[in-house]
Symmetry: D2
Subunit: 348 residues, 4 copies
């Protein structure tokens, strides 16, 4: 399958490039970035900041302009979008209208009822609603990747929801600087410091979590009935979002039973599909009292596993700590996993 | 008043020295540290790591051995203890038995029913229970400074408790490396990382908060009736503990009313005493969405104020973020404020 | 004296504001920043990032546009410029042409023969050349503050030059992130990293050092006859540039003699002027093997002293390490010291 | 070959374990650490701090006591030592006396005339002198790995020495915290700071560089005739030592010629041996103005390549910046490369 990446020189764009360079199913056939870079070779135009070198087979691809005609002419099966919100809001619908499928990491449209917001192990079934997009007059399809923290948070929540009805969720995040992009957080702001604020982040976590864990009903997604309260921090960590979670449940759960459910996370949604990007275990349970830690656990399962630890349950209250790689599980990796899921399900 | 500091070369010991060097009421008349340092001048023996230089008038004081006889002979009115837990557990009762008052930052005995655990603006009245110590055969008195996070947390909790009955508290801390002492956290552990674990810290926060906000009754302190759940982190910050707090209350509170209560924190307990170490405002409310921050707010009120922000209340749930200096408000500063309170109240 | 600050909301602008807010001679009478901020109050428009709060008496000053007419109409005795290089190159000459004195921290014109580049304790005599500017048709005067590293480096060099003829200088700098401004260095670039590059910085150090230590002759400054080789680094430090220096000298010097010369740095140039911003000692010698350090020494002499250590001399080679605050001694502080020097000398 | 590692739980010990776990020639047959850990399984006793998990095939090896009899009985072909200096000084000679070969990363004996100090691509020929050790009555052999900075520095020096006679070397290092071991540098010392001191480090670099680049003559190593001046820093970087180098040469060299020599570094000493641990290029030349950087370049050549950049030469002065992984090229990796070289040469 021929795939394109738009917003290919940003930080999430680089992750898409890195993860797709040797992908068994997808070939990078098109890369686009901001207009002033178009016409230059990817290897010359990008300021590469992620680990490893720029993949050899991508280095010489010429960056295209991001015009609809060009994208259309590139004859792509799929477009991955890592565009900034404002540009995404404008361009993505135009591409989809022309008949192409876009899997997008950008925030606009995530909460629209007919736009599936997918974390494959959690809610691949929500892809069923894609047909609703025909009513917009779109010939293609638009699928959204969740906000980075939400993608990490919803995996253990789904596992826990199989054992207990959740009434209320409190989440406090410690988010890495890479979440704000290549130049998003100035060093002068964050050295010897933490900042308890990222614009709109708490709202995204609160709303998206309820949508992802919601149920399909009446041709719609009914948001999960629990309350989510999020309080966030930016911390001086390069990659990896850590989330402290407290859950109030309807009935008592045993800590051991909970650990088992997390460890065995059945992954019904995409189980048995043998997707190239699925990690062996979507959730890894660590038993050491000082884990998970961003630097030690962020690359577990090639960045696609969420590591959980410090699990305990008493008095209908569960506490756990979850850690995931914010630009892999929290962005590009999940985008690719969505594409693989759709491919296997025959959706396009 | 002649005061002594035991454990004077450690990080909290250095804070005591720094804050007492020019104190209007207290004169440093005795400094002790580990046996191998005794006999050396303080300025030569200490590895000074806090901001500013070693105070001139302390530099030449000779470090004493920490023997009871020596302490006794020094004719002190008061001893501040910044000893490690194990040594404190053994030595502090011996000093008190001999008739001296010890104000101690160490954790042992904090939860004993007859040992007041004091954050002066919150529960100075608990000092009333000191007479109970006579039953131990002690001729002196022992008062404990709360755990660093607890000292910071209980100030806004007290203010809020005046407006709403608190049912449940969730607290997630982001704690500075200085909390572990001069060499407590290796750089290799914490650069590009956070660690969601400090031994026994969560238990301390949970229990001490209930004791400090408890009520005197029947010659005892009845712990506050709410539940406290704490989940903690060590972060790459030098000084300043940040705490994300969610509170569940019995009834609705208005955000504005809450902000007012925090801002006006009446500080009944020690109001009007004009103590040298009281900050102008024990609680400072910041309205910017990205405050408080450790580096920008830790020295507010000379390190004795707790800065709060991101306050909102809805559906009987309050969210706020609090920040305090962990070795000033969270240790030495509060120790000195206790001493001042006792002095004004005529307790010794 | 009524002074203005142009570029007042940037990092160096904030230092100017902070240092001038309570200055005994100078009153802030005019503040300007980028056009989109003009008309707003300083306290609302600035993103304040330096220690302490915005000075009360500055908070409510309305930011002016940076038009020549406005500056002229403000009836200023002096303008401090903290403008970005490109804007400074265009605007500063226009202001000077109109008859105003500008003391500028920006790099353009620093190497022009008729523009004094002044580090007051080192080369205040170079101000003599200001009359040359009349030939440009300027009615005012333009004086330049050296590059941050050069301002720090030239103080100990001047002291050493009094004891030995210097043949060659090798300098390796470890520069703080604040040197690049509020948002100059992304956290993603510098956490767990150092970057051995800052555009044009090495050239600036090499050329400016020779000009500052040069001698007046024939109505011109003859650059010092030694060679300077600089190699630079950006490091994850907030404030304070550390410089490792190797000097090759014509003859042997004794280490002790050298230490004496640094310690006694006679400061002939502005000695006895009693300027408000002169530190008690322009150079502070530390004898501990692990000093100077940025975090511990950057605020020595209120940020105006350069701390040196690790001094030794053998085989006509001197080694020392110097540390100064890059936005005080290396920028705003030196700018103000120049103004004070000119005022005392009756130049304006 | 059956190999043992003594000092196996420290940071360099962990690197030895990690690099040897799947080595094609060497099998880990013995691991020893401090007495209190002996008898425990490696996986339980070690506080693993390097990237990746503990190798599966090492996890269950029981830690031995470090008694000579035990080592002897383990029937090893080779022992790698990562012991602290003091213990190494005592134990290593005893093991060698018993007939075993020890390749040691510890500093004692490095400067002894009959102990080869080897960086294989630079001076593998120095192994010839091993026969001298018979005079000590040793039945085995002792070979030393250079100090971490020296191992990195001597690779480009050797390449340059092939093009120009070197008169003087100035080196300023920016060294990672891992160089001091797992708990060597407290976070409180190094966050927002650099420290221009590591005990004895400068002396080691100065002396060892001259020995490694020395020539064999008269059954001895004549140190290289140039002068080395080193000035060092500890910086808040996890892994990777960066070194700024200035070289004074007897005659002019062209920058281009120099780059060529570094790029083509012929590696005569061990060329053609096809050793498993040799990197494809011992020296990698980067042309970007902001490279090398610790985080981006430390794992080049699996941590065995030294990356150089910022190369220029003029007026008989060369400037370059070199970067290497301090616990791989600067310690365990070079130790293993020495073992491979000796094995190929038939020395044991």
């Amino acid at each position: 399958m021929r795939v394109g990446i738009i917003g290919a020189t940003g930080l999430v764009g680089q992750r898409f490039v890195s993860l797709l360079a040797n992908h068994p199913w997808f070939d990078i056939a098109y890369l686009a970035s901001s207009p002033e870079r178009s016409g230059r070779k990817y290897g010359d135009a990008v300021h590469w900041v992620i680990e490893g070198e720029i993949p050899e087979n991508v280095r010489d691809i010429t960056l295209a302009a991001m015009r609809i005609e060009d994208i259309y002419r590139a004859d792509l099966d799929l477009v991955f979008s890592a565009l900034p919100a404002k540009i995404a809001a404008e361009i993505e619908p135009k591409i989809v209208k022309e008949g192409m499928t876009v899997i997008s990491n950008s925030s606009p449209y995530r909460m629209e009822p007919d736009i599936p917001l997918i974390n494959p192990e959690v809610n691949a079934t929500h892809l069923k609603l894609l047909y609703l997009q025909e009513e917009r007059g779109w010939r293609g399809r638009l699928v959204k990747v969740p906000n980075c923290s939400t993608a990490i948070l919803t995996l253990p929540l789904k596992a826990i929801a199989s054992k207990a009805c959740i009434k209320k969720i409190y989440a406090v995040t410690l988010q890495a600087v890479s979440g704000a992009g290549k130049e998003g957080v100035p060093a002068l702001t964050i050295i010897d410091n933490v900042v308890p604020h990222i614009p709109n982040e708490e709202e995204k976590i609160q709303k998206e979590t309820k949508k992802i864990l919601g149920e399909i009903g009446n041709g719609n997604i009914n948001p999960a009935p629990f309350t989510v309260k999020a309080s966030i921090n930016r911390v001086p960590v390069l990659d990896g979002h850590l989330i402290h979670i407290f859950l109030e449940t309807c009935e008592e759960v045993e800590t051991e039973e909970l650990i088992q459910a997390l460890h065995d996370f059945p992954n019904n949604e995409i189980k048995g599909m043998n997707l190239p990007t699925t990690p062996k275990r979507p959730i890894i349970v660590r038993y050491e009292p000082d884990r998970p830690q961003p630097r030690l656990d962020r690359l577990a399962g090639n960045g696609m596993s969420v590591t959980v630890g410090r699990i305990d349950a008493e008095n209908k209250t569960i506490r756990l700590v979850a850690l995931g790689h914010n630009t892999i599980r929290g962005a590009a990796g999940t985008g690719i996993l969505i594409a693989e899921t759709m491919y296997r399900k025959g959706i396009s």
